[in-house]
Amino acid sequence: MLVVDDDLRTAQRLAKMLREDGFEVEVARDGAAAIARFTRDPVPAVLVTELEIPHVGGVAVARFARSQRPGLPLFVVTVAPNLVNSDDFGSPPPLLFTKPVAYAAFRDALEVSLRPDGARRPTSDLGPVPPT
């Protein structure tokens, strides 16, 4: 998955914890880098993005990502969920998380969205049990 957030310290901490829990995570610190990443294979299976990020906004990143991978699961992390218009993102609608995000609930939601693809590979004994 790709995590896009301009708060690099927090994004990398999140990536580290998710990796410990068995996810493959990359981090982009702005919209341009995120779009660039979606032009390369393997295209990420999940996009986690802030809305207000430098260069290109979260909505545009999400649209581009879905043009590369239709139906891509979207996780939108925001300070103002009431200002988000889910229709901007196409189908299926994004899952919204309001900052501050509770890590456990966030991880569980990621897990559910990835399970059908079987893309989860646990590397940590604290992580979730892999599907067999």
Partner: protein
């Protein structure tokens, strides 16, 4: 032979006999258990009519009146139909006159009672109901006739009073001048009150009548300040009059509150002008008043709206500035907690991370609540059922009530009322009020929280009442943001409640005395245009 009384004559006119009396007695024995229902329906109907409903002062009074109506139904069916019976009916009539109930409602209301009673007679007695129906019609018309007389008596009194007034005016030069300018005074939208040198009312124009609810002949001859309860002016008026009469003070502007016939308070600015000592008229001072109440309320609403818009912008910026760092803090605390659990599970350190996480959550909740208040989502207006709304709120509040040992009562109208509003937000309003009420009485002598819904002519009224110790002081700014008396409260609950109600074009008031605190929400029935989106 003694002379026939008016009442005896009435009975003779409709041929009301002992047979009618005993038929009514038998009817009562069969039907009195239905009387409370008639009373309930009777007052529910009044709620739909502005002018009829205006004479009521509140729910307590309506409940009292419902019991009186049941007593009255029993009385008209059981007699004895003597002079003291007539006096009791006259007393009811005099109350109607005193509270200003328009006569037409006596007839239309009596039609309701009549239909209800005749239907009962048909249902219970069947084919042989004829004589009982006749007796009911007779006794109800006697009631109407007696009550009508009280209106007549009051009318005669008023005519006599105004004739006396006219006789006082006759012959005066100013009386003719007054006649010339009468239209100018009567048609203007300024309250015009003329006072004599003692400060008693001698002139009271149509606008004054309209604003205060008093008819001119009710206030003629009464002191200006007591008739309209002008408390701000009470002490000053004699001195003002003296200065005005001596020519020391040609005019004066002052602002007062006045109390209308219905007990409502209105803000009025008065321009006092003095006719001077030489004026050949007993009216020496004119008070021209302008009712500022609505204008002030409008200004207040505009100010409030501007303030909220500014706070909304601020809140959005603040949310951004607070939630971002909180997100970082929260994630790092989760990371720390995980690291401690892995390496050396130390209870004290784990506890410390829990405290930090809790505090972050608390701050995040505060931000969310503040955003709810300052930058709410637009209303999703749909038809709302009063009964369903109240039942839903009751269900959601009952777990808290039962764990707090508080009894919750619902007092809802017999017929549902549908109005337009945002169901979820109104539910939030009721839940806030119910939660506050329950929390307010825990640990006090109070035990009961009542959720009451009623229809009014143009509004839906919802009350949440508790029998606790009451709000701390009457002037406490309880609807202001960040005012709280609760341990750990954000002080935003009532501010949000207030905002939701006013966004619906409604109003919320609190009436508090020891042993009963009532939050009363009024929402407009046809609020489509009024609702701000």
């Amino acid at each position: 032979m003694t002379q026939e009384t008016r009442f005896q004559e009435l009975k003779r006119y409709v041929r009301f006999t002992e047979v009618d009396a005993s038929l009514l007695g038998a009817f009562r024995d069969q039907s009195d258990q239905e009387f409370p229902r008639i009373a309930l329906e009777f007052y529910d109907r009044i709620r739909e009519h502005v002018e009829a409903h205006r004479v009521f002062t509140g729910e307590e009074q309506i409940q009292r009146l419902q019991s009186s109506l049941v007593l009255w139904l029993n009385r008209i069916c059981s007699g004895p139909y003597d002079d003291s019976y007539q006096e009791q009916t006259s007393q009811i009539g005099r109350v109607h006159v005193r509270i200003g109930l328009p006569q037409r409602y006596m007839f239309t209301a009596m039609a309701l009672i009549r239909i209800a009673l005749l239907q009962i007679a048909d249902r219970r007695i069947g084919d042989s109901a004829g004589p009982t129906r006749d007796a009911l019609n007779k006794v109800l018309d006697i009631e109407l006739a007696v009550m009508l007389d009280t209106y007549r008596d009051a009318y005669v009194d008023r005519i006599q009073q105004s004739e006396r007034q006219e006789r006082r005016d006759v012959g005066g030069e100013l009386a003719r001048a007054k006649h010339r300018y009468v239209n100018a005074v009567e048609l203007s939208n300024v309250l015009t009150v003329g006072l004599d040198r003692n400060g008693t009312v001698q002139l009271f124009n149509r606008e004054a009548e309209r604003t205060t609810g008093f008819a001119r002949d009710e206030v003629f001859g009464l002191p200006f300040v007591t008739a309209l309860k002008l408390e701000d002016l009470a002490g000053e008026l004699p001195a003002l009059l003296a200065k005005g009469l001596s020519g020391e003070l040609p005019s004066q502007v002052c602002e007062t509150t006045l109390c209308t016939r219905a007990g409502k308070v209105r803000d009025v600015v008065w321009h006092l002008s003095f006719a001077g000592e030489q004026a050949d008229d007993e009216v020496v001072m004119f008070a021209m008043g302008q009712d500022l109440t609505d204008k002030k309320a409008m200004q207040e609403r505009t100010r409030q709206a501007e303030k909220l818009a500014a706070i909304g912008t601020l809140a959005a910026g603040l949310a951004h500035e607070i939630r971002n760092p909180l997100n970082g803090a929260q994630l790092h605390v989760s990371f720390l907690e995980r690291a401690i659990r892995r390496q050396a599970p130390d209870q004290e350190m784990l506890e410390a991370t829990t405290v930090v996480a809790d505090e972050i959550r608390r701050l995040a909740n505060l931000v969310s609540e503040f955003l709810d208040f300052a930058r709410p989502k637009p209303l999703q207006v749909k038809p709302v059922s009063l009964i369903a709304l109240c039942e839903h709120a009751r269900t959601m509040a009952s777990p808290l009530a039962s764990t707090s040992g508080v009894q919750m009562r619902c007092d809802l109208p017999g017929a549902d009322v549908e109005f337009r509003g945002d169901q979820d937000k109104l539910l939030q309003v009721l839940l806030n009020l119910l939660t506050n009420a329950i929390e307010a009485i825990v640990g006090s002598t109070g035990q009961v929280v009542t959720l009451r819904g009623r229809r009014e002519p143009r509004h839906v009224m919802i009350e949440v009442e508790d029998d606790g110790p009451g709000v701390p002081t009457a002037d406490a700014p309880i609807f202001d943001a960040f005012y709280s008396t609760k341990e750990g409260g954000t002080g935003l609950g009532l501010a949000i409640t207030h905002r939701i109600v006013t966004d619906h074009g409604g109003s919320i008031d609190v009436l508090s005395r020891s042993g009963a605190t009532t939050f009363r929400v009024r929402l407009p029935l046809n609020s489509l245009q009024e609702i701000k989106s």
